[in-house]
């Protein structure tokens, strides 16, 4: 078992360096990956779609889309793919790691930027670097999509008001003729700086091997 063990470890070492997960966590996620893909090498959208628990999620499509979005792979590519391998899966998951006690302030800042970038990419579907009004409306509509009719009508108003707010915070002295193109990444950061993304946007990744995939004792 020695040889294969080291090979796996090598792989994991590579992945661990890139994504920051521990070996335990990578192993667990690999198991989940296998489960989702039906023991294939890659997963497609259909695999993710078939997760029953996701059915109730109003932003399901965006979440699944984020996995296949090349921008989240940190390799300066754009576009989307149809199948992703384990490494890409891990890369996307790595956006949700929490900071720990040893994370320095700069690292926290970098983490925050990364997470905000992830969110930004989710909103900016046409990848032009800004979230336009139409895109933002779509976001709010999707959020409301499970709420029936009441939601749809007001979603537009809400999106408009939110956009207005972004504009007035970031570019307060716009003349009446100017046009606010859309939310850029800097503006996005500005309006969400109160939310402390680095601590909020995380999930606890399991360290302990739980083959039943239930919520066991979690330490992250």
């Amino acid at each position: 078992m020695g040889a294969s063990q080291t090979r796996a470890e090598h792989q994991y070492q590579d992945l661990a360096d890139k994504t920051g997960f521990s070996f335990e966590q990578i192993k667990n996620l690999y198991q989940r990956f296998q489960q989702l893909s039906g023991n294939e090498e890659t997963i497609s959208r259909a695999n993710l779609d078939s997760i029953p628990a996701l059915a109730n999620n109003p932003i399901r499509k965006q979440i699944i889309g984020a996995f296949f979005d090349k921008r989240n792979q940190h390799q300066d590519e754009v576009g989307s793919c149809d199948q992703i391998g384990f490494e890409q899966f891990l890369m996307v998951m790595s956006h949700f790691r929490p900071p720990n006690l040893r994370t320095t302030d700069e690292e926290k800042e970098a983490m925050r930027k990364e997470k905000l970038r992830f969110l930004f990419n989710m909103h900016d579907s046409d990848n032009d670097g800004t979230i336009t009004l139409a895109e933002y409306r779509k976001v709010v509509e999707e959020l409301m999509s499970k709420s029936g009719e009441i939601g749809q009508e007001t979603a537009k108003a809400i999106a408009d008001a939110a956009m207005l707010e972004v504009a007035s915070i970031n570019v307060p002295n716009m003349g009446p003729e100017e046009f606010y193109e859309g939310i850029t990444f800097e503006h996005f950061e500005e309006i969400l700086k109160g939310l402390e993304m680095e601590s909020r946007m995380h999930i606890r990744f399991l360290d302990v091997d739980t083959s039943t995939m239930r919520c066991g004792k979690s330490q992250s």
Binding site: I51, N57, L101, L119, L133, K156, L164, A167, M174, G194
Partner: protein, 786 residues
């Protein structure tokens, strides 16, 4: 008189005024000292009444008719109570008139000092100090308002997020404190070397009991002090949550040790039963609270016709929850918190805005008065209470309290930080430890001790009072400068923005989704499940009418609009944007410059000829004339600055009516017959008849330039609900099902020209919304609030 001239000084708080105030207070005190001290026993009064009739029968001599008589006993009790409350409130006023005092010394200290003074005065007058901090009065009348206020306005999200930490501190921390203090105190008491002092007589169990009384952090004191230092939300909720939740532990420990003091020993079985009791007390208390909370929510669903008593339900149900929990010796505080927190989301969706304001202000008022009274009474009771000062005991107690708190916090934080994401830093730990104030609850519990079981009761009381004074004065006064010194993060004053709200929700769903993909059921999964359960079943039962389906984001949005409306109104209308957004950005800047490409054929108005437009306009005008008149009669100079009048609800009704009307117009773009409003229902009549001098803002059309919007989907009164139903029904009859953009009413400021394509539909829709006497009048009416 020179004094008079002084009174016009800019500060306005000149010496004569202060002197006058002081004089009033002294007079009141003197006046109160005599009756308060007099405390004529009810027996003698009764005897008087009994004797008098007999006297009258025996020798009735006719006296002159008494023009003025004095009968103090008749009103004595309410009079004294009112006098105390008045005194407390005047004191509060007085403190704020002295400029620098309130920033140096926290109010609680000042109030205790006043209490000491009053108690001293009464003693000097030679009267008996009334037993003001009587435990029944305290626990049944003074404490509940404060706790209810805290529970009703508890910020649920941070509380739940930190629940594990809070519980650790509350349960484990208090247990640790109790045993550490009690045990060490006993040890210290035993070690008196040569001269056998009374300390030797204290046994272990009373010590432990004493420890459990003194170890609990007091919510009243914490509230009083922390409110003034504006510390960041996390620390505030940690200390405050701990002070609330440790009540269960205190209750159990207190009863456990009290029970067994007589027996003298505590067996393992008793300990085990104690643990079970703890679970029963805490979970039982919470359950009682939740049940009453749900009852209150359910009741509020039906109060739409009797709005005036809505606040009463909130208060009475909560109080009943407290009393019911106390019946079974469950934790009344936890019951109150659970009741308040449970009923709040549903009750707020059901009750009118005025009731909401009433609830808020009554709670604040009562809790404020209660707090003031508690501190004053603490002072009075200090002067009165039988004291037995023992240097060793008292100093060791104070010392042990501090030490055990620090050790407890540090130790617990070490463990907790392994499980937390946002770790607690040393600064945080320091504040948590320093914020562990003791207060009146400890004193009242000590007061409850029976003398025969606890011969050392007086010594205990003295020690408790000393600790309370120490924490309130020393820690209370120094925590503010320490917070500044350590540069602890302060509370974020920024208002919650709608972007934050959107993204909070977005994050919730995103994280739930990621958890599902990961395959493990974490916090978000269960939270999401709870939310869905809530939305699907609970809200339907407990919230009346349409609002049961309203998603949270929309509710938030409406609240924000409402607030903006109020701000606008209060700033007197006008063209200024609310100060919160001092920018010149308006919707105009955001809308895409080009008019949207070829609209689908549903925008049939563009196909209508000018002539048809005119006809439709005329017809609409006549239909909406009356409402239009109302709008015209308003201008910003006659603005009534109170949008809370009933008229506001009518305003919403009318606006909704117009929106619906327009919708139908859109649907019927090929007919000339304008749908008539459904036959006047009583609600509509009522709506029209009442006046509506309110500010009025419309929803934006998608491409136009409204700057402010008031949305309607939150019916505040039954009328609006009925109206919507009526129109919906009427609308369905006509069969217009196309889903179109909601073209709200618009009052737009002068806007620059738009593309020619946009002109026609704009014009028509404009006139639909704003039918004026002149067809070609300027585009906009008086923009009420730009």
């Amino acid at each position: 008189m020179p004094a008079r001239r002084d009174s016009h000084s800019p500060s306005g708080k000149s010496l004569p005024e202060r002197g006058l105030l002081l004089l009033i207070v002294l007079v009141l005190l003197q006046g109160s000292v005599l009756p308060l001290g007099a405390a004529s026993s009810p027996d003698t009064t009764h005897n008087d009444y009994v004797d008098n009739p007999q006297e009258k029968e025996e020798n009735y001599t006719k006296k002159a008719f008494p023009v003025l008589t004095l009968n103090y006993q008749y009103i004595q009790a309410p009079f004294e109570i009112s006098l105390w409350i008045l005194l407390a409130s005047l004191m509060k006023l007085g403190f704020h008139m002295i400029p620098r005092l309130s920033s140096i010394v926290p109010e609680s200290c000042l109030l205790i000092t006043v209490g000491l003074l009053v108690g001293g005065l009464i003693k000097l007058a030679g009267e008996d100090v009334p037993p003001v901090l009587d435990s029944r009065l305290f626990f049944l009348c003074l404490l509940p308002p404060i706790i209810l206020d805290a529970g009703y306005f508890l910020p649920i999200r941070p509380f739940m997020e930190n629940l594990g930490t809070i519980l650790m501190f509350a349960v484990v921390g208090t247990l640790w404190n109790a045993f550490f203090i009690g045990g060490l105190l006993y040890a210290v008491c035993q070690i008196q070397p040569a001269n056998p002092s009374i300390l030797h007589k204290i046994e272990l169990l009373p010590c432990l009991l004493f420890g459990s009384i003194i170890s609990a952090v007091d919510p009243v004191a914490v509230l009083a002090v922390f409110e003034e230092i504006h510390i960041n939300e996390l620390l505030h909720i940690l200390v405050f949550g701990e002070s609330l939740l440790n009540d269960a532990v205190t209750v159990v420990l207190y009863h456990l040790f009290e029970e067994y003091t007589r027996a003298g020993t505590v067996t393992v079985l008793d300990c085990f039963l104690g643990i079970i009791s703890f679970l029963v007390v805490s979970i039982g208390g919470v359950l009682v609270g939740v049940i009453y909370g749900l009852l209150a929510a359910f009741t509020s669903r039906f109060t739409s016709h009797v709005r005036v008593i809505e606040p009463l339900f909130v208060f009475v149900y909560a109080y009943m929850a407290y009393l019911s929990a106390e019946v079974f010796h469950l934790s009344g505080i936890m019951a109150l918190i659970a009741c308040g927190a449970t009923m709040r989301p549903y009750v707020e969706a059901n009750i009118s805005h005025k009731s909401h304001t009433t609830v808020k202000y009554f709670l604040k008022m009562w809790s404020s008065v209660s707090e003031t009274l508690i501190f004053i009474f603490l002072g009075v009771a200090t002067v009165d209470g039988p004291h037995h000062w023992n240097w060793t005991f008292v100093t060791v107690t104070v010392l042990l309290c501090l030490v055990s708190r620090v050790i407890g916090v540090v130790g617990l934080t070490y463990v907790i930080n392994k499980f937390r994401i946002v770790k607690l830093t040393t600064k945080d730990q320091f504040i948590i430890a320093y914020g562990g104030l003791r207060g009146a609850i400890a004193f009242s519990l000590g007061f409850l001790l029976k003398k025969n079981l606890f011969p050392m009761r007086e010594m205990f009381l003295t020690a408790i009072i000393t600790v309370v004074f120490f924490t309130v004065f020393v820690q209370g006064m120094t925590i503010q400068p320490l917070v500044e010194l350590l540069a602890v993060k302060k509370k974020q004053e920024a208002k919650r923005t709608i972007n934050e709200e959107i993204h909070t929700q977005f994050l919730d769903h995103l994280l739930t989704g990621i958890e599902d993909i990961c395959g493990h059921y974490g916090h978000h999964h269960w939270k999401d499940k709870l939310n869905r359960f809530n939305k699907k079943y609970v809200k339907k039962c407990l919230i009346a009418g349409e609002r049961s389906k309203e998603p949270q984001l929309i509710a938030f949005y409406h609240k924000m609009e409402f607030k903006q409306a109020i701000e606008m109104v209060e700033s007197g209308g006008g063209f200024k944007l609310p100060s919160a957004m001092p920018s010149t950005v308006s919707m105009q800047n955001i809308q895409p410059k080009k008019p949207p490409p070829a609209k689908p054929a549903e925008k049939a108005p563009s196909q209508l000829t000018k002539g048809r437009e005119e006809e439709i306009r005329k017809i609409l005008r006549s239909n909406l004339q009356r409402t239009r008149l109302r709008l015209r009669s308003y201008n910003r100079h006659t603005l009534v600055a109170d949008p809370f009048e009933d008229g506001f609800d009518d305003l919403l009704i009318k606006k909704q009516k117009m929106i619906e009307l327009e919708k139908k117009i859109k649907d019927m773009n090929n007919y000339l017959t304008v749908p008539a409003a459904p036959p006047d229902s009583p609600t509509m009549c009522r709506a029209r008849l009442s006046s509506d001098p309110q500010s009025y803002r419309a929803k934006p059309e998608s491409d136009s330039v409204p700057t402010f919007q008031v949305d309607l989907a939150s019916p505040q009164s039954p009328d609006s609900v009925n109206v919507m139903d009526e129109f919906r029904r009427a609308g369905q009859q006509r069969g217009g099902e196309r889903r179109e953009e909601d073209q709200g009413l618009m009052m737009r400021p002068h806007k620059t020209g738009e593309g020619a394509d946009g002109k026609d539909p704009q014009k028509l829709t404009r006139c639909l919304s704003d039918p004026g006497p002149g067809a070609d009048e300027e585009e906009e009416d008086q923009p009420f609030l730009a």
